[in-house]
């Protein structure tokens, strides 16, 4: 047995700044539509992100139908397939995952978890959402533009992205995509500045950085990364708009198209790839880190155990964030860049595996001999760990130049990144929604529907993406609407592809159940009470559920401990809330 003496909570320093002046809504419009309350903005962000996400899901169905049953669907031409791929990838990565993690969870959780009344700049925060919304409208409008959306692939590589052979290349498609991205970045910057300043400067009394829940650490780090990575995409987008609209040649070398020499010449397509991936690789971690943080908190709560190695977890997040800025060119091994670069970037890529592995070990050690409750958030968190580990391991292979070169542009890569940055973060998001929905709605999500949703999604995702590794290994290329001459792959690939496609349809259908659950439970769910999971973090200690405007009523919370005091010997309950001064009487709490 461990010797344990409860430590006195200690004095908490006085408030440094007076309580904020909040904007108080005066009518329906300012309360629900142009709201400056981070909680409302969070729901607006999440709702919009989930809606566009559904579009991306339907697109993945269409692609899978084509791949599983080639020559069956006459409306899916090769051009249409490229358009589906592009919009699917871009929506999933940027408009769904980035917006949902940072705009959605960031807005909801940051002020609540650190004990602030709202974001630092609620008005700018509101603008952030509406610009994001505009970006989404522009993006969706490209489906209805003449020529349709761009089919350049989500990486938008020039020169092909703006040439006539690519769908949308000489029509509005690519323009709308670039404009939408530029808007997204402007909107995100407004939100991102808020999240960073709020975490740094608006914490409650007693809330030190090292007492913050890992969710906040992760969202914070991801936001800092986004603020430094998106500029590269912004600049790449502006330069490509110049090339496309004004005929400049930033990215365009001398080209011959249909026997005619184009006006372009002297530009550098590789420059675009560098700019894109300077953004693109950090982007992978921008969606992975919040998932890391959320999963850490979920397993700690639902296993009733202190997170293992909190400090290590924090430093791992920060180090992963920093390292991810010097690995971008592992996406460019086959681009024709200087081979010495490949050597450097392979090394840095493999180094990132170290802090990442630390995180996985720490999750497992947190679970070790924990009191594991197989609640739905926990199931999703466990599924995340498995899936992420799986995708991370294939990533180790792909990080090596010699292994990547033959596998690059095969379905193996598609399987890898769907595991690691597609399925895994989505699983974390589901877990987070099941976990925090009670705080947002005051109702529990239905358990039976949740279980069905979980098992279909988890098993289904494996059914889709596990065989896909094999499909890629035997040589089926990526971004091909059909294989054509089958002589280089076994015949059985056809059946496998059909199987994958059917699994994809089933998984997609299961998401309808999830959406139904979200809507149904608002009215019919069980009342959750304020703290259904008996969690320690501040968002569960609000005076009412859902939390009121300004979050805390009269008195701001005062924090006495870190976020992971579960099963503390001697305490009355198996958790100690962060604002619980145990074993002391509340002291100076009202000051």
């Amino acid at each position: 047995m461990v010797e344990f003496t409860p430590k006195a909570a200690g004095a908490v320093p006085p408030a440094e700044v007076p309580d904020v002046e909040l904007y108080h809504p005066t009518n329906w419009w300012t309360k629900y539509v142009f709201s400056q309350d981070a909680k409302v903005i969070a729901i607006q962000y999440s709702g919009t992100a989930i809606l566009v996400g559904l579009i991306a899901l339907v697109l993945s169905w269409l692609m899978r139908l084509q791949l599983g049953f080639p020559d069956t669907f006459s409306f899916i031409s090769a051009e249409a397939y490229y358009q589906f791929i592009t919009m699917h990838g871009m929506i999933m990565v940027i408009y769904l995952l980035t917006a949902l993690f940072l705009g959605g969870f960031g807005n909801y959780l940051i002020p609540l978890m650190i004990g602030a009344r709202d974001m630092a700049f609620p008005y700018v925060n509101m603008l952030s959402f509406w610009i994001y919304f505009l970006a989404v409208l522009v993006l969706v409008s490209s489906f209805f533009s003449p020529g349709g959306p761009t089919g350049a692939g989500w990486t938008l590589y020039p020169p092909q992205a703006i040439m006539s052979g690519t769908p949308g290349g000489q029509d509005a498609g690519i323009l709308l995509m670039l404009i939408s991205l530029v808007l997204f970045i402007i909107g995100f910057t407004m939100g991102g500045l808020n999240y960073v300043v709020t975490v740094l400067q608006c914490r409650a009394r007693g809330m030190t950085l090292m007492r913050m829940p890992l969710t906040i650490w992760a969202i914070f780090t991801a936001t800092v990364m986004a603020l430094l990575a998106f500029p590269a995409l912004f600049v790449a987008g502006v330069m490509m708009l110049f090339d496309r609209l004004l005929g400049s040649s930033f990215f365009m070398p001398a080209l011959v198209e249909l026997g005619e020499r184009l006006e372009y010449g002297g530009g550098s397509p590789i420059l675009f790839q560098h700019l894109f991936w300077f953004f693109g690789h950090p982007e992978v971690y921008i969606v992975a880190l919040p998932a890391f943080g959320i999963v850490s908190d979920l397993i700690s709560v639902h296993a009733r155990k202190t997170i293992f190695g909190y400090r290590m977890m924090v430093w791992a997040i920060v180090i992963i964030g920093a390292l991810s800025f010097i690995v971008w060119a592992h996406h460019m091994y086959v681009s024709g860049m200087n081979p010495w670069f490949g050597f450097f970037f392979a090394t840095t890529t493999l180094i990132i595996a170290v802090p990442t592995a630390i995180k996985v070990y720490n999750w497992v050690l947190t679970l070790w001999r924990g009191d594991i409750h197989f609640s739905i958030p926990m199931l999703f968190a466990l599924a995340f760990i498995v899936t992420f580990l799986n995708g991370g391991l294939s990533g180790l292979f792909l990080g090596n130049v010699v292994v990547d070169v033959p596998l690059s542009d095969t379905m193996f890569v598609v399987a890898h990144f769907h595991m690691v940055m597609g399925v895994a973060p989505i699983l974390a998001i589901f877990g987070a929604i099941y976990h925090w929905y009670p705080k947002i709605a005051g109702k529990m999500l239905d358990d039976t529907m949740g279980k069905i949703h979980f098992w279909i999604t988890f098993i289904g995702a494996y059914a889709i993406f596990f065989p896909m590794h094999y499909v890629g290994l035997v040589g089926v290329p990526r971004r091909y609407p059909e294989i054509g001459d089958m002589s280089f792959v076994p015949e059985s690939i056809n059946e496998l592809n059909a199987f994958i496609s059917i699994a994809a349809l089933i998984v997609g259908a299961a998401q309808v159940l999830f959406i139904f659950n979200l809507l149904w439970s608002i009215r019919h769910g069980k009342d959750s009470g304020g703290n259904p999971w008996r969690a320690t973090t501040l968002e569960w200690q609000t005076p009412t559920t859902p939390p009121p405007h300004g979050n805390w009523g009269q008195n701001l919370p005062v924090v006495y401990r870190w976020a992971y005091d579960y099963s503390v010997p001697g305490a009355d309950e198996d958790f100690l809330a962060q604002n619980d001064p145990w074993p002391d009487k509340p002291d100076g709490a009202q000051a």
């Binding site: 430590k7 006195a8 200690g10 004095a11 320093p13 006085p14 408030a15 440094e16 700044v17 002046e21 909040l22 904007y23 108080h24 630092a120 700049f121 609620p122 008005y123 910057t189 991102g192 500045l193 808020n194 300043v197 740094l200 400067q201 608006c202 914490r203 409650a204 009394r205 007693g206 809330m207 030190t208 950085l209 090292m210 007492r211 603020l227 430094l228 998106f230 500029p231 590269a232 912004f234 600049v235 790449a236 502006v238 330069m239 110049f242 004004l246 005929g247 400049s248 040649s249 930033f250 006006e263 010449g265 002297g266 530009g267 550098s268 420059l271 560098h274 700019l275 300077f278 924090v559």
Partner: protein
């Protein structure tokens, strides 16, 4: 009351470098006595640095990748006055004007904290005027080059990327200056109206007016000037 992980108040913190870990391990704020607005502006400027950095790196890369010789900036940007050719004369004046505006801005911040409304407003107006003059000269420079045949897609002197990068980068910087001028005027209006003395709540934000807004405005302005120095060095002098 044992085990106090942090210092009691913002006043008795360790000073110097040792203060940094102390501040970052304390509660509430990581940057002590730095207001939210100022912290936000600094972080925004960091992000904007990456934007300008990417623009400049992009420009340097195409300058290397292009196969046509790069035009000589000191000839392209020369002014002919009375038969003599002055290389980079206009750019030199523009640079001088913009740097001077940083000086007036810094003085405005000082007077703002002394709550001298008149002097603050006058100095900020001077800053705005210098900024507007800069943009005006840029318009002149653009129209001169355009009249000589420079376009974003081609120019008479050499590599087409010269014109593309020129219009893109100076245009983006000029937009920054223009936005700065607009905000300067807005802040001047608030200073003159006494919003910062009376702590009038903002129309959209309902936050109290503070003289610090002048300083935050100043941070942005100095940044825009600093960026110009880099553009000047990398685009015009190189």
């Amino acid at each position: 009351m044992t085990d106090m992980p942090h210092t009691d108040s913002a006043t008795d913190r360790p000073t110097g470098l040792g203060g940094i870990p102390a501040d970052w391990s304390s509660d509430q704020t990581a940057f002590k006595n730095v207001s939210w607005g100022k912290a936000m502006m600094w972080i925004f400027l960091l992000s904007d640095t990456f934007v300008f950095g990417s623009f400049l790196i992009g420009y340097m890369t195409v300058r290397m990748s292009t196969v046509v010789p790069w035009p000589n900036p000191s000839e392209v940007f020369a002014l002919h006055i009375g038969g003599t050719e002055f290389p980079l004369l206009l750019i030199a004046i523009m640079t001088f004007v913009l740097i001077s505006s940083s000086g007036t801005m810094a003085m405005a911040v000082n007077f703002a904290y002394r709550r001298n409304r008149k002097a603050t407003a006058m100095l900020m107006l001077a800053t705005a005027a210098l900024g507007a003059a800069f943009v005006g000269m840029q318009v002149f420079e653009w129209s001169k080059l355009i009249s000589e045949g420079a376009r974003p897609w081609a120019n008479p002197w050499g590599a087409s990327q010269f014109g593309s990068a020129f219009f893109m980068i100076t245009g983006f910087h000029g937009t920054h200056v223009t936005i700065g001028v607009i905000f300067l005027v807005i802040v001047v209006r608030k200073v003159l109206r006494g919003d910062y003395d009376n702590e009038t709540p903002g129309f959209f934000t309902s936050r109290k007016g503070r003289y610090e807004c002048v300083e935050i405005m100043g941070l942005y302005w100095h940044f825009v000037d600093l960026v110009w120095v880099f553009i000047f060095a990398f685009f015009y002098l190189w």
